[in-house]
């Protein structure tokens, strides 16, 4: 009996150790190297060259920098990095692209930058993907990416209209994505006897009930920037209500009733339930405020922030959060979808493009993205194999007893996740003007109808050149 008990204890201990190893180290450096070498390509085909990679300071960049020695040993390439803060990054990238200087070989982009594709600044990657000299398609497995992530990264550079992504070539590979979801404080909901809102009027009412005792019902980014419209609760609700930007003939339709109705609601929500200074709140502020432990009842932000919010080392709200879809509307659900992508500067030499493709391929491969997600918190992953890897499942299932995984799966399966705007090179411009218009509504300087009508006039002027 004593012998059997000893065996049981040892077996349980061994299992625990295995579990710890699995969760602490999804893929070891040796395993990663071994996986990379399985690709039926000559990684050293560009050995001796040097490439320059321009990155914004996000976890994936940290992963690349930390693991770069492994890449250099694998390929014989030398990599120089320039890592900048978000604002600086986009400005410097614009200068390099517009000047044609070609200082940067590999760059970060995002799925909204269809203007980069239209301008010819990004190198089409299809020819490298389909060249067996440079890519082993079976190993790289593009089908492993979430379909929506791959499609929003494709465009033909000229077809303007709703849902015209997914055609043409792929210009940048997605390595992480973000959907806007509703995160809420379960403890505050319980304290005030509230339930998770399933409609936008309910959400407004709930936010008002949470705005008391020094607390605020709602927080998200509110600053005057394109991402405040394009990747935020505003666009989720606007399109769920049936709002639109342009019709099939590229005539503006911002001021139609559904969009106006939602914009008025959003204005009231931001005016009455957010903290002072909301209009200068960035996504960094929203993330920090929500995990500060102060009484912010709900946050509508990118699901990538869950990594911070569920991190015991930095968050005061671990275990207190619940997750849900943003409410639907008469036109269904919408979850704005942003992907971080990595691409190649078209202004560089053909020799450097080939070397750059090896880097892009390595940085978006299955083994690298698994390591980046598990060890460097590049999240959420754009590859299905990474999302369903035991270590990632173990990490994310702890978040509100798996509710986030359910939300993510439903978002992907039910196709709430989409790019709802008219695809054109002017998306960031129009979203910037839109952010300005919504701020005026929040400040009650104009009504939603006035703001969206004025926006429509400016947008029509911008889109005039694209009308047939």
């Amino acid at each position: 009996m004593r012998g059997k008990k000893t065996v049981l204890v040892v077996a349980v201990a061994l299992l625990c150790m295995v579990g710890l190893i699995v969760s602490a180290c999804a893929i070891t450096p040796e395993e990663m190297r071994s996986e990379m070498e399985k690709a039926n390509i000559d990684w050293r085909s560009c050995a001796g060259q040097t490439i320059t990679v321009n990155l914004s300071r996000i976890p994936h960049a940290e992963a690349m920098v930390d693991l770069i020695t492994e890449f250099e040993q694998l390929t014989g390439l030398r990599v120089n990095f320039e890592i900048l803060s978000d604002e600086e990054y986009w400005n410097k990238l614009t200068i390099d692209f517009a000047s044609g200087a070609g200082f940067f070989d590999v760059v970060y982009t995002g799925n909204i930058f269809y203007n980069y594709i239209a301008a010819g600044w990004l190198e089409p990657l299809g020819k490298y993907l389909n060249d067996p000299t440079y890519t082993d398609l079976d190993w790289y497995d593009p089908d492993d990416f979430w379909k929506i992530a791959w499609e929003v990264s494709m465009w033909d550079g000229k077809t303007i209209g709703p849902n015209t992504y997914g055609i043409g070539d792929i210009y940048h590979i997605p390595f992480t994505s973000e959907s806007t979801i509703l995160s809420y404080r379960k403890d505050l909901f319980a304290k005030y006897g509230l339930t998770v809102p399933t409609s936008w009027p309910e959400l407004l009412d709930t936010a008002k009930k949470l705005t008391r005792d020094g607390g605020y019902g709602f927080i998200s980014r509110g600053s005057r920037k394109w991402s405040t419209i394009a990747y935020n609760g505003y666009s989720n609700g606007y399109y769920a209500y049936g709002g639109g930007d342009f019709d099939q003939n590229l005539n503006p339709i911002f001021d139609r009733a559904p969009g106006v109705e939602f914009t008025e609601l959003w204005g009231e929500l931001c005016r009455e339930t957010t903290p002072p200074g909301f209009l200068s709140t960035t996504w960094e502020d929203a993330r920090s405020l929500f995990m500060s432990g102060a009484n912010y009842g709900m946050c509508m932000e990118a699901d990538t922030f869950l990594l911070s919010w569920e991190n015991e080392d930095i968050s005061e709200v671990v275990g207190k959060l619940g997750y849900s879809h943003t409410p639907g509307g008469p036109a269904g659900h919408c979850a704005g979808y942003w992907t971080w992508n990595i691409g190649i500067n078209s202004a560089i030499s053909e020799k450097d493009k080939k070397a750059s493709w090896l880097f892009v391929q390595w940085a978006t491969s299955k083994p690298f993205l698994l390591r980046a997600t598990a060890d460097f918190l590049t999240f959420p992953p754009t590859r299905k194999s990474v999302w369903f890897h035991p270590s990632v499942v173990a990490m994310t299932e702890k978040w509100d007893n798996g509710s986030y995984r359910k939300v993510f799966r439903e978002t992907m399966e039910y196709k709430y996740t989409r790019v709802p705007w008219t695809i054109s090179p002017e998306m960031t411009t129009i979203n910037e003007l839109w952010a300005e218009a919504v701020q005026k509504v929040i400040m009650k300087e104009v009504t939603a109808k006035e703001a969206l009508t004025a926006l429509g006039k400016k947008a029509e002027e911008i889109m005039e050149k694209y009308k047939k």
Partner: protein, 285 residues
């Protein structure tokens, strides 16, 4: 008078530098302002005054213009007033700690404007900033200094005043110290009080220095960028949007190089006219 050809040769490097870094970029900007140049488009066309029409007929243009003038004239006048007051106060022999106080005045000048502005955005932070902490402790409501359109422009102006009052202070202090003390003594002997000494002796003698500081500060304030950009980016809405910031926004956000250049040229014309008026006025005096 015989002109030495060698003089031209000695001047050539400086002239070349001025052409390369001043005349050429400026001329190209003026040229761009007459085109529909977009960063995302490889070609562009000459559209005459199309950009200028769009700029001047923009319903928000008057707001940008108003913000530009309120900001630049406001900070300039306050900085000169404060700088002069502090210079007069710290030029008095009886002030024992004046060397220490003058040293403290150096601190804002030593701060890069970017750092100083970031420091103030922390001070202004609505929920966690020290300013609102003190106000709420005194029973007042918290204010969104940079997020409320009623306060944003004045809050940004305060940052500029903090950063650049020392400049006015030191220049005016140097001007004061250049005045002969015998003038004050003679005036005192004649029975002049402090106000009359200031009004009839100090101010007239200091006037050229005062005008110089005013001109420099006004020209720089009209083109002020980093303070506003870092603190509010022209928001909330367009509450702090100035002509300079619109040039930046049109270039980097809307990729419209032609329109960005137009805002730049309009601002240059304003600065050129104002500085010329000042220079002529100063010469006349």
């Amino acid at each position: 008078m015989r002109k030495e050809p060698r003089v031209i040769l000695f001047l050539l490097p400086s002239l070349l530098l001025i052409v390369l870094i001043v005349i050429y970029p400026f001329s190209y900007a003026v040229y761009l302002s007459f085109t529909d140049a977009r960063l995302i488009s490889p070609s562009f066309s000459f559209i005459w005054f199309g950009n200028y029409v769009k700029v001047f007929t923009d319903p928000d243009f008057l707001v940008y213009l108003k913000n530009t003038f309120v900001y630049s004239v406001g900070v300039t006048l306050i900085e000169i007033f404060l700088g002069l007051a502090l210079a007069l106060a710290l030029n008095v022999e009886e002030v024992k700690a004046k060397k220490v106080l003058r040293g403290l005045m150096l601190l804002p000048l030593m701060l890069p404007p970017v750092v100083g502005t970031l420091m103030w955005t922390t001070i202004y932070a609505p929920d966690r900033g020290p300013l609102n902490y003190v106000l709420s402790g005194m029973g007042f409501q918290k204010i969104a200094w940079l997020g409320d359109s009623h306060f944003a422009l004045y809050s940004v102006m305060l940052i500029d005043i903090y950063l650049f009052t020392p400049f006015a202070f030191f220049v005016l202090l140097a001007g004061l110290q250049g005045l002969s003390p015998y003038l004050y003594e003679a005036a005192k002997i004649d029975g002049a009080g402090k106000w009359n000494i200031f009004r009839y002796i100090i101010l007239p003698l200091l006037w050229p220095t005062l005008m110089l500081v005013l001109l420099i500060r006004l020209a720089l304030a009209l083109g002020s960028f980093e303070t506003i950009y870092i603190s509010t980016k022209g928001g909330p809405g367009i509450a702090t949007m100035t002509l300079n910031l619109q040039a930046y926004t049109n270039y980097y956000r809307y990729y419209h190089a032609g329109k960005a250049a137009t805002y730049g040229v309009v601002l240059w014309v304003i600065v050129f006219v104002i500085t010329n008026i000042f220079i002529k006025q100063t010469r006349r005096e």
